[in-house]
């Protein structure tokens, strides 16, 4: 029997959060963590979590599983269970709404700051703005982000300054538009990032790279932003 320990907190009933233990029979299968949660929820319907696509595309079920952030739907038990124990907690550093659901407002506020949309003030061409295959290739490794928040909530700099440090997810998206040959707001974007917090609170510990379920590298993108800021300022 797999020992599953789940973080429970219902602010309408509980004074404080507690861990609830369950025994779970995997029947020898290497299930995904989300499958375990679904089956436990069929026994105890009060267990609360977000989920949607169940295949690592929507980014809803970001959780902290045995101490490491990831998507429950694409994390097999074999990849996370140690010593027959599975500890499930909400993503660290964000306020808990209930059980495994966190309030992502601060995360989205940082995402909003980087203006994650194409800005181009030249007249729109008749059909579309063209881009060479080489310029398009610069966006690979950036556009795939699904905003699950696994990276930003594994980053100590984001834990301490979620209101001032943009965080790995936001900065990856920031660079996605800085690197886009069709975007003409590069200077305005960089001017907003020059302060000591927005970008430079990153100390390159690469927790973000370690947990990204899509295999992206925010630290590298942050390095590119830093280089752009340096060449702009020198």
């Amino acid at each position: 029997m797999l020992k599953v320990s789940i973080y429970r907190y219902n602010p309408e009933v509980d004074d404080k959060p507690y861990m609830q233990d369950f025994d779970f029979d995997t029947q020898g299968k290497d299930l995904m963590v989300l499958d375990v949660l679904e089956q436990l929820k069929s026994q105890d319907t009060t267990i609360t979590y977000r989920r949607s696509c169940r295949e690592g595309v929507c980014g809803s079920d970001g959780l902290n599983m045995n101490g490491k952030n990831g998507l429950a739907c694409i994390t097999p038990l074999s990849a996370t269970v140690k010593g027959n124990k599975l500890v499930l907690r909400p993503l660290p550093g964000l306020p808990v709404i209930r059980d495994l659901i966190v309030d992502m407002s601060m995360f989205y506020a940082q995402y909003e700051k980087v203006q994650p949309y194409l800005q181009n003030n030249s007249p729109a061409p008749a059909i579309e703005r063209l881009q060479s295959p080489e310029d398009r290739a610069k966006l690979d490794g950036l556009y795939e982000c699904i905003l699950c928040a696994c990276c930003s909530t594994s980053c100590p700099s984001f834990w301490w300054n979620p209101d001032r440090f943009i965080g790995p997810a936001g900065l990856l998206q920031s660079y996605r538009f800085l690197a886009d040959s069709r975007d003409t707001a590069t200077e305005e974007r960089l001017a907003k990032l020059d302060d000591p917090f927005s970008v430079f609170r990153c100390h390159g510990i690469q927790n973000c790279v370690n947990v990204c379920p899509k295999g992206l590298n925010p630290t590298r993108a942050i390095g590119h932003i830093r280089n752009m800021l340096l060449s702009r300022a020198t």
Partner: protein, 120 residues
């Protein structure tokens, strides 16, 4: 944009660059001092070494690098842990007080260091 009047250069890019350059200078200086200490050193040899103007200039450069490096580094640590968000208003009071203490200490060390380098 977030502004921070107590940071060293008022700009993240500037602080980052100063932190890196001062780090390299400090590494070079400690390797230099280490290479002189490794075979053992007596007072005569030590005094002769610091009689060279370039050693005094290099030492002052390292001292100023240490001052800038410490200012930036401590400021980053303090703005991580002692903030209004984590501790309420007393976080700001505590942080600014400690920051001032660090600045005063750095100032004393720099002036004292200059006196040691050129005073003996």
């Amino acid at each position: 944009m977030v502004t921070a009047v107590t940071s060293f250069g008022r700009s993240g890019t500037s602080d980052w660059l100063v932190q890196r350059v001062s780090g390299v200078i400090l590494l070079a200086y400690f390797l230099f001092i280490g290479s002189n200490l490794i075979g053992g050193v007596d007072y005569i040899a030590w005094k002769a070494l610091f009689a060279h103007t370039w050693v005094k200039v290099f030492s002052l450069m390292a001292l100023l690098s240490l001052a800038a490096h410490a200012w930036i580094g401590i400021w980053v640590v303090l703005t991580d842990y002692l903030t209004e968000r984590l501790m309420g208003a007393k976080g700001n009071v505590l942080r600014v007080a400690l920051q001032l203490l660090v600045m005063v200490t750095i100032f004393v060390y720099v002036v004292w260091g200059v006196q040691i380098l050129w005073g003996y």
